[in-house]
């Protein structure tokens, strides 16, 4: 167990022997980190949004087909609906049939056009959602072929097909956003390497003196690693505060859009915890990078 006075001893032994806080790299590093953490948090939020959207699309819509019944002049809509339900009931592989009400259809249209903007005489198709038994082989094309013989103006939409394409696109974007996060991490590492080398170059005389009075490389490297961690943390906190403010603003705007395109900004606790961990992880990366860089550079000294 380490007692408080031993902690104090340790702190004094390693504290601020190198005047790192006063040099140019130390002044500029927190701002760079703030920007990087800001961008990383936004990119990571993008990953989380896309991930949950892709999951939702794939989970909710598998095995469903939608029949669209366009209005035909001179024919009763109710009779056509009854006919299509009868026909569907006889087709093997159809598990469940649900007629979408006209008010639901109107609601779907209004999300795109805005409430009250749908003309009264706009011919709305009637929609019938069908659950298909897995492995039945029933496709949109085969179902349309079956129905068209008895019902002109009918079409069948396979939601899964375009949702799969959408999910593929979503996954590509997800990978792209992850690549951006990785690139930001690499940029942070490169920045720390650069500033540590610069710091060693600026304080070469003091470091040489420390060596001459018996300091180990680890003692000198500890000064750089602590400085990098503190600056990383300071910049990281600044970056995440701005990033969370941005996300809060976006969420507020999105909640007022009331459209299916509005982004679903993650609300799960683990997602927020993940975002909050970004500055901590960044400062740890900065600390480790500074230590490795310092030890490598110090090994080149006499």
């Amino acid at each position: 167990m380490i007692w408080p006075e031993e902690w104090a001893d340790m702190a004094r032994r390693t504290s601020a022997v190198l005047p790192l806080g006063r040099d140019a790299p130390s002044r500029f590093l927190p701002w760079v980190f703030a920007l990087m953490v800001y961008l990383a948090v936004l990119a990571l939020t993008g990953v989380l949004i896309l991930h949950s959207a892709v999951e939702r699309w794939q989970r909710g819509e598998v095995g469903t087909l939608t029949v669209q019944l366009m209005p035909v002049e001179g024919e009763s809509e109710a009779a056509r609906l009854a006919l299509v339900q009868n026909l569907l009931g006889e087709i093997e592989g159809v598990l469940d049939i649900r007629v979408v009400s006209q008010s639901e259809s109107l609601d779907l249209i209004e999300r795109w056009l805005g409430a009250g903007n749908v003309p009264n005489d706009l011919p709305l198709p009637r929609l019938i959602d069908i659950d298909v038994a897995p492995g039945s082989g029933l496709t949109a094309d085969s179902l349309a072929l079956n129905l068209k013989a008895s019902l002109p103006g009918v079409s069948v939409d396979d939601a899964k097909e375009w949702l799969d394409r959408l999910a593929d696109f979503g996954r590509s974007l997800e990978l792209l956003a992850l690549a951006v996060v990785v690139l930001i991490g690499l940029a942070a590492v490169a920045t720390v390497i650069f500033t540590t080398r610069m710091g060693i170059s600026i304080h070469r005389n003091v470091i040489e003196l420390l060596h001459l009075i018996g300091a180990r490389d680890g003692y000198v490297a500890a000064q750089f690693q602590r400085q990098a961690m503190m600056l990383g943390l300071r910049g990281g906190v600044l970056g995440i505060v701005f990033a969370l403010a941005t996300l809060y603003g976006l969420r507020h705007v999105a909640s007022r859009l009331d459209t299916p395109l509005a982004p679903d900004i993650p609300v799960a606790h683990w997602a927020w915890a993940l975002l909050a961990a970004v500055p901590v992880v960044t400062s740890l990366i900065a600390m480790i990078t500074a230590r490795i860089t310092a030890l490598r550079e110090l090994a080149k000294m006499p």
Binding site: R13, R22, E208, L212, A299
Partner: protein, 213 residues
């Protein structure tokens, strides 16, 4: 590689000796001291310190060797952002000494060199002589086995200069080997000890070797 500053330099300093390293400016005194306090390694030749071959020693081994050596630099090399106390405490801190011991020992030593009232002063607020005393205190705080001093009395008045030579002599009596590089002939005459004379990068005279080159 630049011109060879030292060549055909062969000498031996035994434990417990007190030596002056004398010679005109440019004779190579500082370069020889830099080799001795392990700030650089020779381009060729052999240096053996405390039984270890410096040329062959690994970096980690150099740390142990350096902790046996105290150095008073000609330009003091104090850290301007640290107080006199923290400057003197540095060799103890890097060696992992307890803070309570550090405070006691450093305060006593600073009082001994006449800086009791300047313990918390930054080097910038000290005179040249005061800085030099802080540098000397830092060099001797760990009671090194070898003390190397480059013009240690250069900025001190005669009284204080004599007092510091007494400190070196006392350290020498309790076993510290002392080598003082100086061009102050009065200092050498007043406090006689064997001399190693350098000129043009060569040994010109070695009192203990009994030769004049």
């Amino acid at each position: 590689m630049g011109p060879e500053v030292l060549h055909d330099v062969t000498f031996e300093i035994n434990p417990g000796e007190f030596r002056y390293l004398v010679g005109p400016s440019g004779a190579g005194k500082t370069s020889l001291l830099r080799l001795m306090y392990l700030a650089m390694r020779p381009s060729r030749g052999l240096i053996s310190m405390f039984g270890s071959d410096v040329m062959m020693a690994r970096r980690k081994e150099l740390v142990a060797l350096r902790r046996k050596i105290g150095v008073v630099f000609q330009d003091y090399r104090l850290l301007n952002h640290l107080s006199a106390l923290d400057n003197v405490a540095l060799p103890l801190r890097v060696a992992g000494a307890k803070e309570a011991e550090i405070q006691t020992h450093v305060s006593e030593l600073l009082a001994w060199v006449g800086l009791a009232d300047h313990i918390h002063a930054l080097p910038e607020s000290l005179s040249g002589g005061q800085k030099q005393r802080v540098a000397i205190a830092r060099a001797v705080i760990t009671r090194p086995r070898l003390l190397l001093a480059d013009e240690p009395t250069g900025n001190l008045d005669e009284v204080l200069g004599q007092r510091l030579i007494r400190l070196f002599e006392e350290l020498n009596k309790i076993g510290t080997t002392v080598v003082i590089a100086t061009h102050n002939q009065n200092l050498v005459a007043r406090n006689p000890h064997p001399v190693l004379a350098l000129g043009s990068g060569e040994i010109h005279a070695d009192d203990l070797a009994g030769r004049v080159g």
